[in-house]
């Protein structure tokens, strides 16, 4: 293990590109991930997320560009023993050895990473407990469910106590309960100080876990920022107004107010949902004006924009 200070860079890429034939899968990506961060990578299918992660993991050779883990350059197909001990990589599919038991599988990988007894046994038990597979330790891998196999893959990824985790679509295809379990495990790993890069299509999961977000499109990293900054930079909120009066009349007034973008009337709920990008003062003005105009307001509140909505605001392009 290396001693890493907060605000050091765990991953840095400079001009990283990958070209397949005439298609640029990843194009001049300059990525910086701070130590201890949980960095979410989002983007439409074919945006280059998996290729980027594979290059970071040393599985795919970059066409051009440089990769650094903890300020040390990573060169594809080189042994770089100390660097490899720091990395854990979980791909979107998770091939396993069906002929081994859960314990033997983890024992095999732990020893490949030079773990020795008695620490080895303790670590195996710790990891099995973390991924909730203690009861399956002697079961053949072929008998495990998809969720269990996914958790076993994660256990294999962290068995050697890496400090950098690359997780490519780790929850794809899992049921909500398994996803919840997976999220809990990631939180534990985050608390343990691991730097985690995670790509996922399930943006609500990422919003819950991530400290920073990167958005990829057509191979470009078009956005990379702490999640809090991103919310600040895209300040649109959802303003909810419920009233006893005729909502259509109320809605007719709305376009005259500053900060109101679009709105939607939910007649059954007697509610209007407004996409609002104004300041706090604009919000106060709106409420005051509506009351002064004689509308009976029963509820008036804002809710934070979902990551999913924020993502959808971007003008997405998918490779043809």
């Amino acid at each position: 293990m290396v001693d890493c200070q907060m605000n050091d860079l765990a991953i840095e890429t400079r001009g990283l590109s990958k070209q397949y034939d005439r298609q640029l899968a990843v194009c001049e990506v300059d990525l910086q991930i701070q130590t201890g961060e949980v960095y979410g990578l989002i983007g439409p299918n074919g945006a280059g997320k998996t290729t980027l992660i594979q290059m970071l993991a040393g599985i795919e050779e970059p066409t051009v560009g440089e990769i650094y883990w903890f300020d040390e350059p990573v060169r594809f197909d080189q042994a770089h023993f100390p660097l490899k001990r720091r990395l854990g990589y979980l791909p979107d599919d998770f091939p396993l050895y069906d002929d081994l038991t859960v314990w033997d599988y983890l024992d095999y990988f732990a020893r490949l990473y030079y773990l020795r007894q008695p620490h080895l046994r303790r670590r195996l038990e710790e990891v099995l407990e973390l991924v909730q597979l203690e009861s399956k330790r002697n079961s053949l891998i072929s008998t495990l469910s998809r969720g269990m196999r996914q958790r076993l893959s994660l256990a294999r990824t962290i068995i050697h106590e890496p400090i950098l985790l690359l997780l490519d679509e780790p929850v794809s295809g899992l049921d909500p309960l398994s996803r919840q379990q997976f999220r809990e495990i990631i939180k534990v790993l985050q608390e343990a100080g691991m730097t985690i890069l995670i790509s996922s299509h399930i943006l609500s999961d990422l919003a819950e876990l991530c400290t920073s977000i990167g958005i990829m499109e057509l191979g470009y990293l078009v956005e990379s920022a702490p999640l809090a900054d991103l919310y600040q930079r895209y300040p649109q909120q959802e303003l909810i107004i419920s009233g006893l009066d005729d909502l259509d009349t109320l809605a007719q007034q709305l376009p005259h107010f500053k900060g109101v973008d679009t709105y939607e009337i939910l007649t059954e709920k007697k509610q209007i949902n407004i996409q609002f990008y104004g300041s706090g003062e604009d919000k106060v003005n709106l409420l005051r004006s509506l009351i002064n105009a004689g509308f009976s307001i029963t509820e008036f509140y804002t809710q934070k924009q979902h990551l999913e909505k924020l993502f959808l605001q971007l003008d997405h392009k998918q490779p043809s």
């Binding site: 051009v64 930079r233 300040p235």
Partner: protein, 578 residues
């Protein structure tokens, strides 16, 4: 104690333990043990059946001299049969030492073939399955060295076959000792078999790593090649034709059975009585005139050195291709040592055995097409081993200046030594150095007035190989994922089709000479030689002009268009982004 040993082995090589755990299951063990014991029993009982059963018959294992009227019939057999006599107890007098020798030889050959063929199959199949499933990627990411991981595979994947062999070891040793073969030689045989396993298994792993896209056929193809080689060599051994005093002898160095004559020669029977794996013939083999195969110990050492040298080359490829499956098998610099060592080895076997100086020149002339044939095969392999694929070449063309560690490196140096550059330059240099070695040999060998013809053949063969290399590289730039197969088919077609067509309707000799000069007769008129060389170089130059054009197209223009296209329209953030 056992737990400590297991723990130590697990720490030293987890891959080995993983393979053993996955395979050493009760059902598999029962099959392996049963198979080994059954095959031993069948061989033993089969040879028991060969013993005489009725009085006065002729049999290989009897000891009596046949009566005069049956002498001719007895000698008709090769090796000759003997007359069966009974002792005072009414039992046949049997030459048990000869019987055990036959059992020993059969066990040696049978288990050698099982070991190499089955081992090769399971290794290729295991590695290609791991490649397909993607499990190998995780193993690659661990900090274990390639040698540690692949040694684990070699020791672990064929573990059931090793079990079969270990169970057969006592009977094999017993049979050898009963045949009066010294134990030291039997152990020497075992050592050579182990060395051959290391070589064949390493080559199998390399083959499994680099052959993808054959839809599971690669295991059968690889195993088929090994089986055919062993079968042909064994047949040659049984018919006393393992030594030919020509460059084919270099190929037989890969057959562990080359040692069997030394073991058999130690038994108290005449070579005529035994009738196979003749020691006199094996010991007559010379290399650059040196009698290196005179003694069993030197034969063991030479076989092991040969296996070690080629195992080293297999591991060169494994080290490169295991980490990066797109890598070429060898670096360009090392390829010179590879081809050079083969040519030097082959030339050592050129000198014929004949003592009559009158025939030396004629026999040497017969040996040259064999030399050219093997060199041809070696260079075809080299073309496959050194030629980078489309993606690598495109990246090289596009980003050569950005990727080079030494930005000052010039293009010719990059073509000769660069990791990603086209292979044509390096193959041409390889051909030039090897042609020079052969030319020197031609200068020294007593070839009378054939030197000019042979020199011309060297030039034609080298140029034909350069055509194949240029064409293969050009085809490897194709878009289709099956470009490797296309390149192989195209080169094979160039080699075979002109000769085939020539048989149906006569083609101008320049056509077949251009593409497959080995088929040329003993004499080529000098004007035809010159014209063929001109034709060959015209093909080489046009192929390389086309290759350069394609590389330029793949490089500058498409990079410009790709970047300009994408850079002018990068994905935009929404307008409210700050």
């Amino acid at each position: 104690m056992l737990a400590t040993v297991k723990e130590r082995i697990s720490n030293w090589n987890p891959q080995l333990v993983r393979e053993i755990k996955g395979r050493w299951k009760p059902r598999n063990l029962v099959i392996a043990v049963g198979g080994s014991l059954l095959s031993q029993a069948l061989i033993y009982l089969g040879f028991r059946e060969e013993l005489p059963s009725t009085a006065n018959q002729m049999n290989r294992y009897c000891v009596g001299t046949p009566p005069a009227d049956e002498l001719n019939a007895a000698q008709f057999h090769n090796p000759p049969n003997n007359y069966c006599l009974e002792n005072s107890a009414g039992n046949f007098v049997i030459n048990w030492e000869l019987w055990w020798l036959d059992v020993f030889t059969w066990l040696s050959v049978f288990f050698l073939i099982v070991l190499l063929v089955a081992g090769t199959y399971v290794l290729i199949s295991d590695l290609s399955q791991e490649q397909q499933k993607g499990t190998l990627s995780f193993v690659r990411l661990t900090p274990r060295s390639v040698s540690n991981l692949l040694a684990g595979k070699i020791l672990g994947v064929p573990v059931l076959i090793y079990t079969v062999m270990l169970l057969a070891f006592p009977l094999h040793l017993w049979a050898g000792m009963a045949a009066k073969i010294p134990v030291s030689l039997i152990l020497g045989w075992d050592l050579v078999v182990v060395a051959s396993c290391v070589f064949f298994y390493s080559a199998a792993l390399l083959y499994g790593l680099v052959t993808t896209g054959l839809n599971g056929m690669q295991s059968w193809l690889g195993t088929g090649i090994v089986f055919a080689f062993l079968l042909m060599a064994t047949k040659a051994g049984y018919s006393n034709a393992l030594v030919n005093h020509n460059p084919f002898d270099w190929l037989t160095l890969f057959y562990p059975g080359k040692l069997l004559p030394y073991l058999i020669g130690e038994t108290p029977h005449s070579l005529e009585t035994i009738g196979y794996f003749n020691l006199k013939e094996a010991a007559a083999l010379k290399w650059y005139g040196l009698p290196l195969w005179n003694h069993a110990s030197s034969a063991i050492a030479l076989l092991i050195v040969n296996y070690a040298w080629w195992t080293y080359w297999a591991w060169q490829g494994l080290q490169r291709c295991f980490r990066n499956s797109h890598s070429t098998l060898f670096s360009k610099q090392k390829s010179f040592w590879f081809t050079g060592s083969i040519t030097v080895s082959l030339l050592g076997f050129m000198y014929p055995q004949t003592g009559d100086p009158e025939y030396v020149s004629a026999e040497l002339l017969e040996n040259f097409p064999i030399l050219f044939g093997i060199e041809f095969a070696v260079f075809l392999f080299l073309i496959a081993a050194l030629s980078p694929h489309r993606q690598t070449l495109q990246d090289w063309a596009r980003y050569r200046h950005q990727k080079n560690d030494k930005p000052t490196r010039n293009l010719p140096a990059d073509l000769m030594r660069g990791e990603y550059s086209p292979a044509g330059g390096a193959i041409a240099l390889n051909l030039a150095t090897n042609s020079l070695l052969i030319m020197i040999a031609i200068g020294f060998l007593p070839l009378e007035n054939h030197r000019l013809f042979l020199g011309g053949m060297v030039l034609l063969t080298s140029s034909a190989l350069l055509i194949y290399a240029s064409l293969a590289q050009l085809l490897l730039l194709m878009k289709t994922p099956k470009r490797g197969i296309f390149a192989t088919v195209a080169v094979s077609t160039l080699m075979v089709v002109p000769a085939m067509l020539d048989n149906i309707f006569p083609l101008p000799p320049i056509v077949s000479l251009t593409f497959f000069p080995i088929a040329a007769g003993a004499h080529i008129p000098s004007n035809l030689l010159f014209l063929t060389l001109v034709a060959q170089w015209a093909v080489i130059i046009s192929c390389n002009i086309q290759l350069t054009r394609q590389l330029k197209k793949a490089g500058a223009s498409s990079t410009k268009s790709l970047f300009s296209q994408q850079k002018t329209t990068p994905p935009r953030l929404p307008e409210n982004a700050q």
